[in-house]
């Protein structure tokens, strides 16, 4: 999708009118006009990015800071009993448009919204296997991490080199799901 055709690009950069609540050089937050609850905020990067993984480090960090600041603001003004921060990456996760959005949703008793996460008992072997695999992957992203059981198979230099390689996410496929 062309960035100029993207409604959220236009909202984030002010090409289209919106009920803006917050803006800095990287991010814009507006009131959702079809909200889950009053004061439901949509927080968007100004740059057209489809999913979280594509955001530069500074923007990903800024999303954290803005999530905190906007939560404070909503708690102070609306005095809700709770608040959810929700991100959907990919149509399968509930993403509706190919522009990254972080939802900030004030919550009230009996509001009919559900962000409960049903937890299950896991098979220990499955979790152990995944944990070992993830630790190896994590070292490619965070070479300074230390895991006691892990043998030092690669040098830090090797890991830094591997980290530069493109991450194996099929962005085309994820983006196509919207079409």
């Amino acid at each position: 999708m062309e960035a100029t055709q993207c409604i959220f690009c236009n909202l984030a950069t002010g090409q289209m009118p919106s009920k803006k609540i917050y803006e800095d050089e990287l991010i814009t937050a507006i009131l959702d006009i079809y909200p889950a609850n009053p004061a439901h905020l949509l927080v968007m990067p100004k740059e057209h990015k489809a999913i979280f993984a594509q955001l530069p480090k500074a923007t990903a960090e800024r999303f954290g800071l803005v999530a905190k600041k906007l939560s404070e603001l909503i708690f102070r003004v609306l005095r809700p009993e709770g608040l959810n921060i929700f991100i959907a990456n990919g149509a399968i996760a509930g993403q509706k448009a190919p522009h990254f959005i972080m939802h900030v949703i004030p919550r009230f008793q009996g509001d009919g919204i559900n962000f409960e996460i049903a937890e299950k008992e896991a098979k220990i072997d499955d979790v152990d296997a995944l944990c070992s695999k993830l630790r190896k992957d994590v070292l490619n992203y965070f070479p300074e991490q230390k895991f006691e059981e892990e043998k030092e198979e690669k040098s830090v230099e090797q890991r830094l080199e591997e980290r530069k390689k493109p991450k194996n996410i099929d962005l085309d496929r994820i983006t196509k799901m919207f079409e």
Partner: protein, 166 residues
């Protein structure tokens, strides 16, 4: 009362990331395979209690971990969910970022019904949020100014005294 999350952090159980402030580990009772929790090491309950730099780091680490989970469990999407307060679904009094890999037919859904809010009310909400935001910014600016005016702290004083030493 002991906190389950604090005890998991202490045991470093199924840890996949750790630094001086935060830790990430596989949820022992996952919604799906690969359900990861990112937590501050300090026992803090909701997002507003976290320091700015901690929350920034937590989001960056969540981003990196959610990226590698695509490959690790063959996910087709991910959800990142923060629950602040029991009505928001929070189960432990310890702040968490949930990273949930998603795939077809996993039986999960985080959808919501859209509410109709009259334009008037929308405008009132916007005004109230903007007014409070402006007030907070002013307060911060005043605090900054005060900091500049006030005599420097004891540390600065000591450093100056030390510099005077021959």
């Amino acid at each position: 009362m002991t906190c389950l999350i604090c005890s998991l952090i202490e045991k470093k159980q199924k840890k996949i990331y750790e630094d001086d402030e935060i830790i990430a580990f596989l949820n022992p009772t996952p919604a799906v395979h690969g359900h990861t929790l990112v937590a501050p090491k300090r026992h803090l309950q909701i997002i507003t209690q976290l320091e700015d730099k901690t929350v920034e780091k937590m989001f960056f680490v969540s981003q990196q971990l959610s990226s590698l989970l695509y490959d690790a469990v063959g996910a087709e999407g991910t959800n990142i969910i923060v629950q602040n307060g029991v009505v928001a679904g929070q189960k432990h009094a310890h702040f968490l970022i949930n990273i949930i890999p998603r795939s077809k037919d996993d039986g999960m859904s985080f959808e919501w019904a859209q509410k109709q809010i009259p334009e008037d009310n929308m405008n009132k909400i916007q005004e109230a949020l903007q007014a409070t935001e402006a007030k907070e910014e002013k307060k911060e600016a005043v605090a900054e100014e005060k900091k500049k005016e006030e005599p420097k702290g004891a540390d600065d004083y000591l450093i100056k005294q030390l510099r005077r030493l021959p």
